[in-house]
């Protein structure tokens, strides 16, 4: 490969990596809980991945698999470090909330309040469908079998309900960003 092609490949990988940042933040926050540890872990993953790209280290699998592998190591390191802390020093946020979903604590009061209002305006059947999908974690096929409806119809209902929520939440949610990005949130 010529030096120009190598440079082009490096730039392409960097762009792909930057595009992965929002998802990476979700992954580490889900694994570690939101907070400083998650932010530091995401930074560490990006720093290591960028270093590998810049040094032209071979990335045998896809970049996503490569980044996910780094994330798994960094998350394991953070968990191991936490395990060595006395319980009293462990962030209270890291102790699981019995009834919480793994991503629930990423949502602040303002976002939850907005979603409360939007859900209240949804058809009760659609609201129940979303509960079964995102709280109970049932598959669409299982829900359809339970309701005696074709899965394709249930899937369409789910998709329409999500679109309706986006519309109810306003222009900021149109691109799917129901959760305000903390980097751009007005304080």
């Amino acid at each position: 490969m010529t030096s120009g092609a190598v440079r082009e490949q490096t730039l392409k990988l960097r762009e792909e990596l930057i595009a992965m940042i929002p998802s990476l933040e979700i992954i580490v926050a889900r694994a570690l809980g939101p907070g400083d540890d998650a932010r530091d872990a995401a930074q560490e993953v990006l720093t290591r991945a960028l270093a590998a790209i810049d040094q032209d280290r071979p990335i045998r699998e896809s970049l996503a698999a490569f980044v996910h592998g780094i994330a798994a190591h960094v998350i394991a390191d953070v968990r191991a470090a936490r395990a060595r802390l006395p319980v009293t020093e462990v962030d209270a946020d890291q102790l699981s909330v019995e009834d919480a979903g793994p991503l629930d604590r990423m949502i602040d009061d303002q976002e939850r309040g907005a979603m409360d209002g939007a859900l209240a305006r949804l058809d009760p059947d659609d609201r129940e469908l979303l509960r079964r999908c995102y709280v109970a974690g049932e598959t669409v096929a299982a829900i359809a079998a339970d309701l005696g409806e074709p899965a394709s119809r249930v899937r369409k209902r789910k998709s329409r309900a999500l679109q309706q929520l986006r519309a109810l939440l306003g222009p900021g949610a149109r691109d799917g960003h129901i959760l305000a990005d903390p980097r751009t949130r007005k304080t």
Binding site: D104, V135, L162
Partner: protein
């Protein structure tokens, strides 16, 4: 989940939100999530739905949330709060003890306060943020390492200042000299005056007391001039 049809039929996003996927399914979905904006949006939306329906929200720090306080996610530029305090500490230390080693030591690294910005996160931001995140937590060794990975030409004057401060605080005075010298050369920068004191300390570490004196003696900054006086005291024949 590699093609559109698989994607359409998959319930992985909702299982990921609800926490019902097994470890292998979770890993596979996360690899996909890294490159799929549609799934990312569904996960975000599903998380908000889940939090709303379960009545869970992120706790405010005042309610006993984070042990170490909340930081904004992004830092753009260092700020100067507390630099005066750092200078005061320098004065206090130098008036008590003119021993070269003590004079060269960085007792209180310049504090850094994060400042939230509303700007797209660039590649450089990511690298600088990583370094400043380590600096803000007092992990100067890691901060220095992270700054060192950034091409020198891409660092702002403020970032160079903290790079030098991190290196000095980490006991790597020789690594501190180059970035601090560049900050001093940027004479219009508000970082230039405090950088002179740090650079002088870095030079003292290397036994270069005359160069250290020359660095701070020309400054109009009170802290730098006081530091110059301390070096002069050190250099007096009777004290050597």
């Amino acid at each position: 989940m590699n093609d559109a049809a698989d994607h359409e039929e998959s319930d992985a996003a909702q299982g990921y939100v609800a926490g019902t996927l097994g470890p292998e399914e979770t890993a596979a979905f996360e690899r996909h999530l890294l490159t799929c904006a549609a799934c990312r949006d569904e996960v975000r939306q599903g998380a908000a739905i889940s939090a709303s329906m379960r009545g869970v929200a992120e706790r405010a720090p005042a309610a006993g949330g984070e042990r170490r306080g909340r930081r904004p996610t992004v830092w753009k530029a260092p700020v100067f709060a507390g630099l005066g305090l750092a200078a005061a500490v320098v004065l206090l230390v130098t008036s008590r003890d003119d021993d070269a080693a003590r004079l060269a030591r960085l007792y209180t690294p310049p504090p850094f306060e994060a400042m939230p910005v509303r700007a797209p996160l660039t590649e450089l931001d990511v690298l600088v943020d990583g370094a400043m995140a380590a600096y803000a937590t007092g992990d100067y060794g890691r901060a220095r390492e992270r700054f060192a990975r950034i091409p020198a030409g891409e660092l702002t004057t403020g970032a160079r200042f903290y790079f030098g401060a991190a290196a000095l605080a980490d006991g790597r005075a020789s690594a501190a000299r180059e970035p601090l010298a560049r900050v001093v050369a940027d004479s219009l920068s508000p970082f230039a005056a405090p950088a002179r004191v740090l650079l002088a300390k870095a030079l003292l570490h290397g036994g270069l007391a005359d160069s250290a004196l020359a660095t701070v003696a020309v400054s109009r900054d009170a802290a730098a001039r006081a530091f110059a006086d301390s070096i002069r005291t050190l250099l007096r024949p009777s004290r050597r």
